[in-house]
Symmetry: D2
Subunit: 350 residues, 4 copies
């Protein structure tokens, strides 16, 4: 079996694991007050060029989203997101569970535009019934998006400008941030994000850690009582070191970038293989997730030998599927896939 | 420095860590659908003698409490707990955050009694205003309690009988369950808990794991949609394997019991040292947590060389402190403490 | 000025007001335990042919929706509604505030169909990611809908059948129930609703009361602790008599039907006037709300002399507006409107 | 039967009712945008000497408490209240339902003191575990308290000073505010409250209205989106006029004060009757609620002819009961009670 199902099918990157092993028996105080967390925070502040940033380590993405969003919104407010946004669809109503509505707006390939956002806000406030509706309280975007696409610096700046006009905090879900930053098509850096949003998180779970997401409030602008809010949401580990040690490893010697780059290189090779063999791309993605349109019978046959993710129906006889690479992908896996596709399963993918 | 601050100051037990290392590069599907979780569940079912149990792996204690309690209560209901219960005091209002009140009742050394519980419920329903008040919806106890004390089988059975009379689910917080079961004073087993409560959790974080708690619904009685509820609470890991691998290790060859027993043996030795040297115990605890009354100046001097937990004021000149052992405690640490207490800091603890 | 803005621009129907006046100084116990509430409940049970119904009087519609819906859903669940449903748009996120997502599905003129509902549910459960999404927990429809349209008995029965297949309670928002039942096009009665849904409410605020909605659980099927839930939601009046007296009046001598019928007769006359004068209807509605398409400049001119509701943009130069009749509308108001439209503001509504 | 059960057993004060009758058929826009609400707001601003106050009319007390408190607190925060506070005991967990814990502190006869409050806050922040606990976010007091007692101006000022020191908003629940202000023992006025707290409400339900409470943010300091929050909590009436008309009447010609004064005069006479006849007072209250200690058999006998409220057990053979007067009490009712107590039920109240 070959594995391209997702970027969370293995454990930790070996360097991250090694740091866990090396530090395992060191005594450290609990709840994120340990020296590993402190070291990791300093390294992240340096990487983001934000010496005053408030940084918190949480465990997973849905948890991070619900905790950050509910901490920033007033109770009369909701969060604007692409209608394909992870919080809008696949987080089990975690945002609503905190009492807030997700306000979906149209997107293209997972990206919202400053124009769409501005039009939505203008129309909202023009409606005389708007006080009877959920008030827009912040904007959520993901980078890369759920479709593996990327915002440009100009697009992000424009969205940020609309947010400032309306006084809305901008939050970037970076579950796969590394894979976005490492893309050849990316023109954004960590410090660009720090300048253009009010809070973002650097995903660990899908970029080499066993678990863990680093929330960055770039200007020391964490809401009052945020530590308590984290605990209240069940997101505070007694052994907070588990997260500190991993992010310490990820932000030492630029490991986070290096392993992300590896996944991007693998994705580029994988993309070239699919192109060479005449596969049909559902959309053009510059990151570690590739979306193909496969004929349904072919898809089923292929799934007996290769693991990938079913995404959504395309038409009556075809489906969209996702192939993902990660820090753990090996070039020889792609070679093996190429061989398989050429010899064993010649393309019948009409 | 000597460390008796808590049972979560090191990483994972070496055997648990070894299993993480061994399985690190194995491919596995996400969100708890991996074979490690499955294996761990089967071993826990066997250990509890509950072949039909529903088992879920969550990440930490506060998270587990909020998820389980909010899933069991109707919205008009609250959870009865000792007024010293962890959920009543030290979980940042996580239960209230889910919309439910903690209904505190009196305790002794952290334990509630069937009599107190029955009296509370009788008085509640006798009050003609009771429909205007939060309805009792379940009962929460901890084993061991926050004061390291244990319920006997008879006490647990009596509490369970009261719960059944009033139709209230009984939930046992087992953050330190291993240390309770391993105590010489314990007359309860995992299967005794399975028979006498509606849901309990087996603590991993404080008993050898990096993180993780195993929630057991002994009779397959998980509430409808509980998987979704876990996700909604931010308690579902993408790499659910992290929890499965650890519990698989803990429930192989009875490791969970063995390392708990070690902590109890260490506590017994530590207790004998304190007794020998004339220290004053705040209360008699049969588990891995010892509570002493120290004179304040002495306490401060001692804390320069030994780490322990401040608990609460005792009187104007004394404080209650906690010394904890764990799977990671070594007998030589206790020897070193004994030497320190005898030679360097002779007892001035009036 | 002529008033067709809505059905809540006056106080109480004179007969309702008279009953308030007559009973004003009678002593009565609080919180809905008074004899007026009891009499009103009995009359409603008789009107619905549901001798075992649980009936609760709440104050307003949004409050009723949030209280009923949150009491019926498990925490992992959301409520399915038309994407034009009042709870989806114009209740300030009250449902989400209780922790639950509104799951919007497509509608036509405010009505969902059994086919659309069944297709949604089939697709939901066919998606292998569905446990990561909000679980459908109940179905909400409104009668009349927000667009003044009506379900037929066959349509309601079909929706109910789909609900039963999937185990979902069906809830009918009857804010304007009287105006629906009184329509010439209606083939549903109160007892038809009682047979075909799990809970519905009979709107008072818009049908002759100062405030008040009667929630009916037809088979004594109120969720456990519902009285407490009502209080918790701030929906329990100390002077519960205010609601009991009004519903007692409304359900004495069939007043509720009579005044609803009056509004429908007024609407029929108003419809004939608009037709006669060549106005363009946005959609055909059989109840007390008429929707017209007006040219924007004409709309503004008209609004100087007639009050009506702006509804939504139609195209660049036209808007949809609503004219509503009620128990308080007088035929001479419509005569006056007709004269105005014919003489003072001849139709320039291109 | 004689009625001293509570101050909400009749409908509206005749002058309030008359205003409802007079305005019943006037057309007015919905949701509190009507001229009656506007007039009432202006009169309340004048009465409070707060020209910039934000004023909102809500329907009932529990609803008002949950709406105001949840709008002011950050999600990590709870509300400090007397352990006898209405929100702590008798509001069905409405505060917790919004996600916030009530933090009870000791009181005497329903009153907290600045000293107790300061001591609580000092101890809270001195506890190094305080970030793991619910953060104090505001202070709630009631005036009169649930035991009918009153804060002096000095006491209120001292509590306010502590609140300012810790940055905590002070909120006064004035469900029976009129009866407090009208007491002979009161040295506080509406404008004194406006100066010394951040938000308070003027109770209507128990002081002559059918329903309704006026929330005052004295310095225009309503939290952002509060109108939407009111709607979200189900507290916004379509016919908002119902509240506006009533408060307009209550604040015209000082009716609110006059009818409150009447209740106080009645209470004074009732107190003198009980004193004359040797009854035992549970505590000395200067407002419209009198608390007596009655022997249990006597209490039961008396309840056959007089309605009063059972309050709580006193000892094995006695109970505390409450007699309340209101705007609706007539002096002849008290005469009748006196005769009854003297002739028919000579005091056996040992």
């Amino acid at each position: 079996m070959l594995y391209f199902e997702s970027d969370y099918t293995e454990g930790a990157h070996p360097t991250v694991l090694a740091h866990l092993i090396d530090t395992n028996m060191e005594h450290a105080s609990g709840y994120g007050t340990d020296p590993f967390c402190e070291a990791a925070k300093q390294k992240i502040r340096a990487a983001c060029n934000t010496p005053d940033a408030d940084i918190f380590f949480l465990v997973g993405g849905t948890q991070t989203n619900r905790t950050v969003i509910s901490a920033l919104l007033a109770i009369s407010e909701g969060v604007i997101a692409a209608d394909t946004g992870h919080i809008a669809l696949h987080e089990a109503g975690a945002i609503e569970h905190t009492g807030h509505k997700v306000l979906p707006i149209p997107q293209k390939h997972g990206k919202i535009s400053a124009e769409t956002l501005a039009a939505y806000l203008k129309a909202f406030y023009a409606d005389e019934n708007h006080p009877h509706m959920v008030q827009p309280g912040m904007v959520y975007i993901s980078y890369p998006t759920e479709y593996g696409t990327l915002y440009t610096k100009e697009e992000l700046s424009s969205i940020h400008a609309v947010c400032r006009t309306y006084g809305l905090p901008l939050y970037v879900d970076g579950a796969r941030l590394g894979y976005g930053l490492a893309s050849n098509k990316a023109d954004l850096t960590l410090s660009d994000f720090a300048e253009r949003c009010d809070v973002f998180y650097i995903g660990g779970t899908k970029v080499g850690a066993l678990c863990g997401e680093a929330v960055v409030f770039p200007r020391g602008n964490a809401p009052r009582g945020f530590f308590t809010t984290v605990k209240q949401n069940g997101a505070l580990l007694a052994k907070g070191r588990l997260l500190g040690v991993q992010f310490d490893a990820l932000f030492t010697n630029d490991l986070y970038s290096a392993i992300s780059r590896h996944a991007i290189d693998c994705a580029a090779y994988l993309r070239s293989v699919f192109s060479e063999l005449g596969f049909r791309f559902y959309l053009d993605t510059p990151t570690n997730q590739l979306f193909l349109v496969l004929e349904n019978a072919y898809m089923r046959a292929l799934s007996a030998q290769v693991r990938f993710s079913y995404w959504e129906p395309y038409d009556k006889t075809h489906s969209v599927v996702r192939f993902a690479t990660s820090w753990a992908t090996e070039m020889r896996d792609i070679d093996a896939l190429r061989t398989l596709l050429m010899n064993n399963l010649p393309l019948q993918n009409a």
